[in-house]
Symmetry: C2
Subunit: 206 residues, 2 copies
DNA sequence: TAGATTGTTAATCGATTAACAATC
DNA sequence: TAGATTGTTAATCGATTAACAATC
């Protein structure tokens, strides 16, 4: 029997559930329901239950879900029950902000190296990091076995840097450059583009 | 006859098409096809054609789409054939980066005010802006008639600032705080959370 | 003309919702 | 026990794809 393939759209919702669960957990709540969680994240209760049921039976009839337990399960499913080393490439304002961002702690990621190709920036400090020369990037990433990268270079450089990241063995790229990238099959890609985010809303404004 | 309601999932793809079209336009190309555009953005040619056909007939059999014309149409549809004034709230590293970001030019947005509640930051300059006191925010936004906001405050403050933005008349919020927000019906919301973006990929890694 | 590519229809595929027996 | 809420099934709804006549 073939393994059941979980739809990507469901995987996309799990991090949102996890984030919301962490939030109510931090407020000391022990238990929640599909109803309550659904209201928090803007999804129907039926969908929450359906999504979670793809991975097991995590709730109890009558009482709902134990938050700590469900958080553990989601962390396991999303493979963030470990810490992924991440590189940041491009030390402009955005790369700077990302390198110093405290929000990765406890969410499964840790920035370990940052790069730029600007001689004026190389060897400068950003937060706790020393900016390294992009020319040593491929080798350094490869040697450290890093699989996850955040790309914060200008759009004009993004594709060629992405190619280098792939060459270095990176398997997941979070792209902040406002441009569609091409990567080989097997390399994952997510986009963060504020203009695109805003344009998804202006359609509905007048 | 009721106006046809365009599915939200289609609206979400249009900014990506627009971004790609701008890119090939900048390279001097005049014309493209659903095939070519689809390959650039990772969507089937049939879907590109279907999406665009919701809004009119923008192509020509045999020759495809005139890029300049299609760009104009998409800008019109997405209502970015004008410039939307935007406020940024929260002048930490991320707000700083956003306030100085050059990528909004020509994409329909212009940052016009930035706020923080930290007395040490108020009246300091960030790029071309002077950071204003969050206590005057509601009034200032209301008086300026601003409809679009970017929220870059800590998660712990995000909901209460969002409430103030709604009170001030903001209709679209791009939220960088890693937390699900509650806003009234009629207020639009998009999320930018790097951890969530990364967690959507780690599921597929090993 | 011949070749290319659109816009659209119908078929397929997939995702969401409603409903409820099971059970805590 | 009575009330609440799960996990799951079947029904509905919506989105994607394949195919092709129209036509540039």
């Amino acid at each position: 029997m073939a393994e059941k393939e979980i739809p990507n759209v469901i995987i996309g919702r799990l991090p949102v559930y996890l984030r919301a669960l962490r939030h109510i957990q931090a407020q000391g709540q022990q238990t929640t329901s599909s109803q309550e969680l659904g209201e928090m994240v803007g999804v129907s209760a039926a969908q929450i239950r359906k999504d979670l049921s793809q991975f097991g039976e995590f709730g109890k009839q009558g009482t709902g879900y134990n938050i700590a337990f469900l958080v553990d399960k989601l962390r396991e499913i999303l493979k963030v029950d470990r810490v992924w080393d991440v590189v940041v490439v491009g030390m402009g304002d955005m790369g700077h902000a990302i390198a110093r961002y405290q929000g990765f702690a406890n969410r499964g990621f840790r920035v370990v190296m940052v790069f730029d190709n600007n001689p004026a920036l190389i060897d400068q400090k950003v937060g706790e990091f020393v900016i390294r020369d992009a020319r040593v990037m491929v080798r350094a990433i490869h040697e450290a076995g890093i699989k996850v990268a955040m790309l914060t270079v200008p759009a004009s450089a993004a594709q060629s840097v992405a190619n280098q990241l792939v060459e270095a063995g990176i398997k997941a790229i979070l792209n902040y450059a406002p441009i569609s990238l091409n990567v080989p099959h097997g390399v994952l890609l997510q986009y963060i583009d504020p203009s695109t985010g805003l344009q998804r809303m202006t359609y509905y404004l007048d």
